[in-house]
Subunit: 192 residues, 2 copies
């Protein structure tokens, strides 16, 4: 998606440790108009009229997922981290490793809001190692629901999370795949 | 806001410890159409044409804040919890106590995305003790930005957070103020 790649080239910054900072438009300050364009772009890859919900993981995916759900006219559900006291029993749970927080995190999702009849489109803003999405796929599987696709705005292609999903045959699409990132020099994988 | 109160009465549940569960439409599974109605309703109370950004706190406020920012045609910024490694220095920080997680949490916000020239509308889905919003107000103050208002969808009136803001003279509005909550019996404060 050229618009997104242009924004990454113009405003993204590469920090030591291959961290790609896009927090001016994607995951800290959010450009809602860009989210609308991303939501439109996903329609090229996913049959959004055939889904019953958009699923994401807290926190940074929520804004994009909300705008997608709005466009596709379905509810948005987000898996929560860890245990808060306002979710009762009846939870799906998946264990993932958060590289951001450098610890294991448990994703939880109430069984009330994801059931075997659901047709789920997973949306997230960013994929690196893919742990968050792996956990979401696991939640969908636990529910016996249908995984209709996984849509990611920006993938760090060199960290393998996206390729693992591609190799599993998941209907996976990322709109900008970063192949290498050095300060001042970001290279995208060829469009698929 | 009658539509919101009706949803709370119909779908909300009261758990032991005065926990009000509205996670079927507000903060786990999110009804985006309802968020759109809430965003419209806030226009009765706030001059949304005079703001430069919507500010919220991760995680559950993000969906509502995104839909509000979309309607008011401004970016949405969310304060993050704790320290992740993809935010550099140059941060505003505020310490709050999270009753949900029963521990101190540090809210952080990059100085890049909130500056003295900003006119900020704080939006959150839920207010109980008001710690999250108190922290957000503190971030706005640290930036020297103008706090144009604080809009909350559901307030637990009996926990005092909303009244503290009202007494401070903040332009504060909650669309449904719950005065008391017992299992099967939710009472709202009279409309203001």
């Amino acid at each position: 998606m050229q618009l997104l790649k242009d924004r990454i080239q113009k405003e993204g910054r590469v920090l030591p440790g291959n961290i790609i900072k896009v927090d001016g438009f994607l995951n800290h300050r959010v450009d809602i108009r860009l989210m609308e364009e991303i939501a439109k772009e996903f329609e090229l890859y996913f049959n959004t009229r055939d889904i019953t919900m958009v699923l994401t993981a807290e926190a940074s995916g929520i804004a994009l997922a909300a705008i997608c759900a709005q466009r596709y006219n379905v509810p948005m559900v987000f898996a929560k981290k860890a245990k808060s006291d306002n979710i009762e029993g009846g939870l799906y749970q998946s264990e993932i490793y958060s590289y951001t927080y450098k610890k294991k995190v448990t994703q939880i999702l109430s069984k009330e809001w994801l059931t075997a009849g659901d047709r789920v489109l997973i949306i997230d803003d960013f994929m690196a190692n893919g742990e968050a999405v792996r956990g979401l796929c696991d939640l969908v599987s636990q529910a016996g629901a249908a995984l209709m696709g996984v849509g990611i705005a920006i993938e760090k292609g060199f960290q393998g999370g996206g390729d693992r999903l591609r190799n599993m045959g998941v209907n996976y699409h990322a709109l900008a795949v970063i192949e290498s990132a050095e300060p001042g020099h970001i290279v995208f994988r060829d469009d698929m």
